[in-house]
C-alpha cells in the first residue's frame, strides 16, 4: 500500500520540478498548467475552496493523461493522478452531466462492462457490423463523417473480431509443457473484459505462451472486469463490487500468480489494496490478491523459461504502456524477452517513457492533445525504421494503430501485442525444428 494518502501526498509537493520532463502534456505545450506541478497546485486550490468549480478548472484537470510518469519521477512520491482524481470528483459533485450522457455512462459502466456475457453479445454485434456489409454501407454513406476525427480513426483501426463460433470460452485448465521446460508453477489468467472480446486471439496466445514457458494455466470463468474504466470515471461503488468479486474468484484458486496481459488492467488489479484502505475486513484479502498480480512478461522472465523463439527478420520497436512501466513497475522484462527472440532486430524507441496519448478514452475526450502527442510519437517511430511496433496494452495498441493510419504507414508498419509476437515466434521456432 502507498505510504501516504493522496490528500497527504498533496501537501508534500515541494515544487522541485522533477516531474516536468516526465510529463507528456507539458512536453507538447510547455504550459506549467499542463504539467504535474501545476496540476497539483490547481487541484489543491480547488479542494481547499480557494478557486471555484468552473469550466476553466474542469478543462485543466481533464487535460491530465493520468499516466503516472510524474509519480515515478517524483522524489517524494506525490500521487499526482490520484490528486487530479480528487479534484475531478469535486467537479463532478458540482456539475450534473446532461441526462443523455448520464444515461449512456450508467449503461456503459453499470450494465455493460461488468457483465461478460453482455459484452460478448456486443462483440457479436460488432462482428456482424464488420462482416455484414453494414460497415461498407456506413463508409459509403459517409455516416462516419458525422463523428469526430478521433472516433473515425478508432473505427478504422478496430481489430477484426473473431466470429462468435470461434469465440468459445477459454480453456479452464491448460497444463504447462514439461518436455523442454521445468514446471514453473501454476498461474491464473486475468482475461479482461474488452480484451477478451476484441483481442481474444491475444488471450489465447497468452495461455499458450505461459504453458510453453512452463506454467499450468487456469482461467476462472466467473471473473469480472477489473473496474479501471469505472474507477477513473468516478464510479467507485461499482469498482468496489467488481474488486470484491474478483478477489473472491481468484482466492478460491490455488495459484502462485494472477497474470495480466494488459498494463491498464494489471495496474488496476494492483490498486485493489489501496481501494480497501478503509475496509479492514477486505484489506488483508485484497493485499494477498495484489501480491499475486504479475504482468505476463514479468512472470516469464522471472519464473519461467521462454522456449526457443525465432522472428521473421523484421525490425521491431517497443512502446511501453504507462500503467505497466509506472504503476506495475515492469520496465525491463518486455525488452528482455524481445532480446531472446532470434532473427529479430530490436531498436529502442526514443522518448518511450512518454505516454502515447491513448490513456483509456483520453484520445476520444481530448483529441487535439492526444493527436499532438501521437504525432510526435510517430516521428520517433520513423526514426527507428521499425516494421513492427510492439505494445503491451490494448489501448496503446489501438492508439499506435491510429498513429500508423494517420501517418499513412499502413503498408510498411504493423502494430502487434508483445504476446502475439512471442507466441508466433515460438511457433515458428517449433515449425523450423520439426521441418528441419
Amino acid at each position: 500500500m502507498k505510504p501516504l494518502t493522496p490528500e497527504q501526498s498533496m501537501y508534500t509537493c515541494v515544487r522541485c520540478g522533477a516531474c516536468r520532463d516526465a510529463c507528456p502534456t507539458l512536453d507538447i505545450t510547455g504550459r506549467e498548467a499542463d504539467g504535474p506541478r501545476g496540476r497539483v497546485l490547481m487541484a489543491r486550490s480547488l479542494l481547499e475552496d480557494r478557486i471555484p468549480v468552473n469550466a476553466e478548472i474542469e478543462e485543466q484537470m481533464s487535460r491530465c493523461l493520468l499516466c503516472s510518469a510524474c509519480v515515478d519521477a517524483c522524489p517524494v512520491n506525490v500521487q499526482v493522478p490520484e490528486i487530479v482524481m480528487l479534484a475531478k470528483e469535486k467537479i463532478a459533485e458540482h456539475k450534473k452531466s446532461p441526462f443523455l450522457v448520464r444515461t449512456l455512462k450508467r449503461f456503459f459502466f453499470n450494465h455493460l462492462l461488468p457483465h461478460p456475457r453482455r459484452l460478448q453479445f456486443l462483440g457479436h454485434l460488432l462482428w456482424l457490423y464488420q462482416q455484414s456489409g453494414l460497415r461498407w454501407l456506413v463508409h459509403k454513406l459517409g455516416i462516419l463523417k458525422l463523428f469526430p476525427d478521433s472516433a473515425q480513426q478508432m473505427e478504422a483501426v478496430l481489430p477484426d473480431l473473431l466470429p462468435p463460433s470461434e469465440r468459445k470460452p477459454l480453456p479452464s485448465f491448460t497444463p504447462g509443457c514439461s518436455e523442454q521446460n521445468k514446471r514453473a508453477g501454476k498461474v491464473a489468467l486475468f482475461r479482461g473484459c474488452i480484451m477478451d472480446v476484441m483481442f481474444r486471439e491475444t488471450n489465447r496466445h497468452s495461455i499458450e505462451l505461459l504453458a510453453r514457458s512452463g506454467f499450468d494455466v487456469v482461467v476462472p470463468d466467473d471473473q469480472v472486469c477489473c473496474g479501471a474504466l469505472m474507477y477513473h470515471n468516478g464510479q467507485k461503488d461499482t469498482t468496489l463490487e467488481l474488486a470484491k468479486k474478483n478477489i473472491e474468484v481468484f482466492e478460491k484458486l490455488d495459484v502462485d500468480y494472477i497474470i495480466s496481459n494488459a498494463g491498464g488492467c494489471g495496474a488496476m488489479l494492483k490498486e485493489y489494496e489501496e481501494l480497501f484502505r478503509h475496509e479492514p475486513e477486505w484489506l488483508e484479502r485484497a493485499r494477498a490478491f495484489c501480491h499475486k498480480i504479475r504482468d505476463i512478461s514479468e512472470v516469464i522472465v522471472e519464473q519461467g523459461t521462454l522456449p526457443k523463439a525465432v522472428g521473421n527478420g523484421e525490425t521491431v520497436t517497443y512502446q511501453p504502456s504507462c500503467h505497466l512501466q509506472y504503476v506495475m513497475q515492469v520496465k525491463r522484462a518486455p525488452e528482455q524477452l524481445l532480446s531472446r527472440v532470434a532473427n529479430l532486430h530490436y531498436r529502442p524507441l526514443p522518448e518511450s517513457n512518454l505516454c502515447c496519448g491513448s490513456a483509456g478514452i483520453y484520445n476520444l475526450l481530448q483529441p487535439k492533445m492526444a493527436g499532438d502527442i501521437l504525432h510526435k510519437k510517430m516521428g520517433y517511430v520513423k526514426e527507428t525504421s521499425a516494421h513492427v511496433i510492439i505494445t503491451a496494452n490494448p489501448g496503446c495498441l489501438l492508439q499506435m494503430k491510429a498513429g500508423v493510419h494517420s501517418e499513412g504507414l499502413q503498408n510498411s508498419v504493423k502494430v502487434v501485442h508483445i504476446v502475439d509476437l512471442l507466441a508466433e515466434s515460438v511457433e515458428r521456432a517449433e515449425k523450423q525444428a520439426s521441418t528441419g
Binding site: V14, R31, R37, G38, P75
Partner: protein
C-alpha cells in the same frame, strides 16, 4: 492596460502561447522556494516564446508599456529568482530547448536556453563529450537557468562552475537589442578580446538580459568512475580526512558529506544501505580511465586509513552506483525525518571557508536544536558548500515563523564565518537582504550597471537588492 498588451502580444505570437487565464497565472506564481510557497506571486500574462525574434518582440512591448518582464526556465529555483513579484509578464523559455549544433571537432555545442542539463548530456554521450556542471536538479533544470545562477553541483570541486564553460551568449538586452558575446562568429576556445560581457551576464539572474543562445565548452567524458565511502565519529576527523586526500595529490571529482541526520534519513528510506550513523559520512568520487580510477580509489582509501576505521570502496560500475545511492537519495530522504513535515529551502546553500566547516556544522546543529526544528545537513564539503534541510509542517504557522528566524540565523552565521549566504542557488528575493552586508560598496556598482543596461527597470525587477 494588460489587456492591450495581451492583444498586442497575440498579434506577434501564437495565441496558444500567450497565456492570461486565472489558472495559468496561478501556476506561474512559484518556484521551489519556501518564500513563494508561503506567498505566491502571480503574473498578469505569460508568453512561451520559440525564437529570439519573439523574445525581442516581448522586450520591446514591455518597454513600450513599461511592464516588468521575468525570464524563467523550469522554475526549479529555490530563491524566488524568476518569480514575478511585481506582476507583469513571465517569459517561459523552456520550449526554446533545441541543440543547434554539436561542434565536436572544436569541443563545443550551441544550444537554446530551455534545454535540460541531463538531456544535453544524454545527447552529447555519443560524441564522448560532456558539459560538466551538474546541479542536483540536473534532470529538471535548464541550461539557461544554470547560466542565470552560475550553477554548479556535486562535481564543482574538480570541474568548476557553469561560468568556466560559457564561450559565448546571444542575449536580448533589456532595451531590445540582440548582441552576441565572445565574438560574433567565434569558435575559439578562449579569447581576451574586449570586455567579458558573457561573464557579466552569468549569475545576473535575468536582470541584465535574456539569454537566447549559448555556446558551451565541452570536455571528454570520463569512461570510468570510482567511489570511496567512509564514516567518522567526529566532524573534525572528517575534515582532516579530506585534507589528507588532497595532500595525497588527488583531486576527486566530488567530495560529499552527510551529517548524522542526513545519514539516518537515508537509512530510513533505504535500510539496505545500512550506513553507519556517525557524525559525518564522506563520499569521494573519482573519474578518468579505468586504471587511473582504480589507482585513485586505492590511494584515497590509504590516505583515510589513519582517520577512520570504516572505508568501503569500489571501481565496479554497479557497486559504485550502490555506494553513490546514499548521496543520491538524501535530498528526498530528509523529508522522512519528521512525519507530516516537508523539506523547505532556506539557508540551504551557504558556503564557508574549508577551515571553518566543523564549526559551521556544529553551530548549525546548535541553532536548529534551539528552535527544535529537525534539520539534516549534507553538501559539497570539498568546497565548503553546505545544504541544510529544515523539515517543518508548513501548515503550522508557529513552526513556519520559527523556521524563518532560524534560517536568518544560519545566513548570518555563514557571513560571520567568512563565507557567503549562497554558493549555488542565487540571490533572488530570499538572499537580497544580505547583499549590502556581503558586497558593501560593490553593490552600488551592480546597481549602476543595472541602470545603465536597463534604464526602464524592465527585466526581473525587485531581485538581488537592485533598484526597484
Amino acid at each position: 492596460m494588460i489587456e492591450k498588451i495581451i492583444s498586442e502580444l497575440q498579434r506577434v505570437i501564437d495565441k496558444e502561447r500567450v497565456l492570461w487565464r486565472k489558472t495559468d497565472m496561478m501556476t506561474y506564481a512559484y518556484d521551489a522556494s519556501f518564500a513563494t510557497q508561503l506567498e505566491p506571486k502571480e503574473p498578469e500574462a505569460v508568453v512561451i516564446p520559440l525564437s529570439t525574434d519573439e523574445v525581442q518582440a516581448c522586450v520591446q512591448l514591455a518597454n513600450k508599456y513599461q511592464v516588468p518582464l521575468y525570464p524563467r526556465g523550469a522554475a526549479t529555483g529555490q530563491t524566488g529568482g524568476a518569480v514575478p513579484i511585481k506582476g507583469g509578464i513571465v517569459l517561459d523559455m523552456s520550449k526554446m530547448d533545441r541543440i543547434i549544433e554539436v561542434d565536436d571537432e572544436n569541443f563545443q555545442v550551441i544550444v537554446e536556453p530551455g534545454i535540460i542539463q541531463a538531456n544535453l548530456n544524454a545527447a552529447l554521450k555519443k560524441y564522448g563529450l560532456f558539459f560538466p556542471p551538474d546541479p542536483g536538479s540536473s534532470k529538471m533544470c535548464t541550461v539557461g537557468g544554470m547560466i542565470s545562477n552560475n550553477s554548479s553541483g556535486l562535481r564543482a570541486v574538480k570541474y568548476g562552475v557553469t561560468r568556466q564553460y560559457v564561450l559565448g551568449l546571444e542575449i536580448v538586452l533589456p532595451t531590445g537589442e540582440v548582441i552576441v558575446t565572445g565574438g560574433e562568429k567565434s569558435r575559439a576556445l578562449k579569447s581576451v578580446s574586449g570586455y567579458d560581457l558573457a561573464h557579466l551576464m552569468i549569475g545576473s539572474e535575468g536582470t541584465l538580459g535574456i539569454v537566447t543562445r549559448i555556446r558551451l565548452k565541452l570536455l571528454p567524458l570520463p569512461p570510468a568512475r570510482g567511489i570511496v565511502l567512509c564514516s567518522f565519529p567526529k566532524i573534525e576527523q572528517a575534515i582532516e580526512g579530506v585534507r589528507a586526500v588532497y595532500h595525497s595529490g588527488i583531486i576527486p571529482s566530488a567530495i560529499e558529506i552527510m551529517d548524522i541526520y542526513a545519514t539516518r534519513a537515508a537509512n530510513k528510506m533505504r535500510p539496505d544501505l545500512n550506513l553507519p550513523e556517525t557524525e559525518a559520512l564522506l563520499l569521494f568520487e573519482v573519474d578518468g580511465n579505468k586504471d587511473i580510477v582504480a589507482l585513485q580509489v586505492k590511494t584515497i582509501s590509504e590516505a583515510l586509513k589513519s582517520h577512520t576505521d570504516y572505508v568501503k570502496f569500489s571501481d565496479d560500475p554497479e557497486q559504485c552506483e550502490n555506494l553513490w545511492q546514499s548521496r543520491k537519495i538524501v535530498g528526498a530522504a530528509v523529508g522522512n525525518l519528521k512525519p507530516g513535515g516537508i523539506r523547505v529551502y532556506g539557508g540551504e546553500d551557504i558556503c564557508v571557508p574549508f577551515s571553518r566547516l566543523p564549526e559551521a556544522i556544529r553551530r548549525i546543529h546548535e541553532i536548529t536544536n534551539s528552535y527544535n526544528i529537525v534539520c539534516g545537513i549534507y553538501g559539497h564539503v570539498g568546497d565548503g558548500n553546505l545544504h541544510t534541510a529544515p523539515i517543518i509542517d508548513i501548515n503550522n504557522q508557529q513552526e513556519v515563523e520559527k523556521a524563518k528566524q532560524m534560517i536568518e540565523e544560519i545566513h548570518h552565521l555563514a557571513i560571520e564565518l567568512g563565507g557567503t549566504t549562497t554558493a549555488e542557488h542565487g540571490v533572488g528575493i530570499v538572499r537580497a537582504p544580505y547583499m549590502e552586508i556581503e558586497h558593501g560598496q560593490a553593490l552600488d556598482v551592480m546597481r549602476r550597471l543595472k541602470k545603465t543596461l536597463d534604464p526602464n527597470n524592465i527585466l526581473n525587477p525587485g531581485k538581488m537588492a537592485l533598484p526597484t
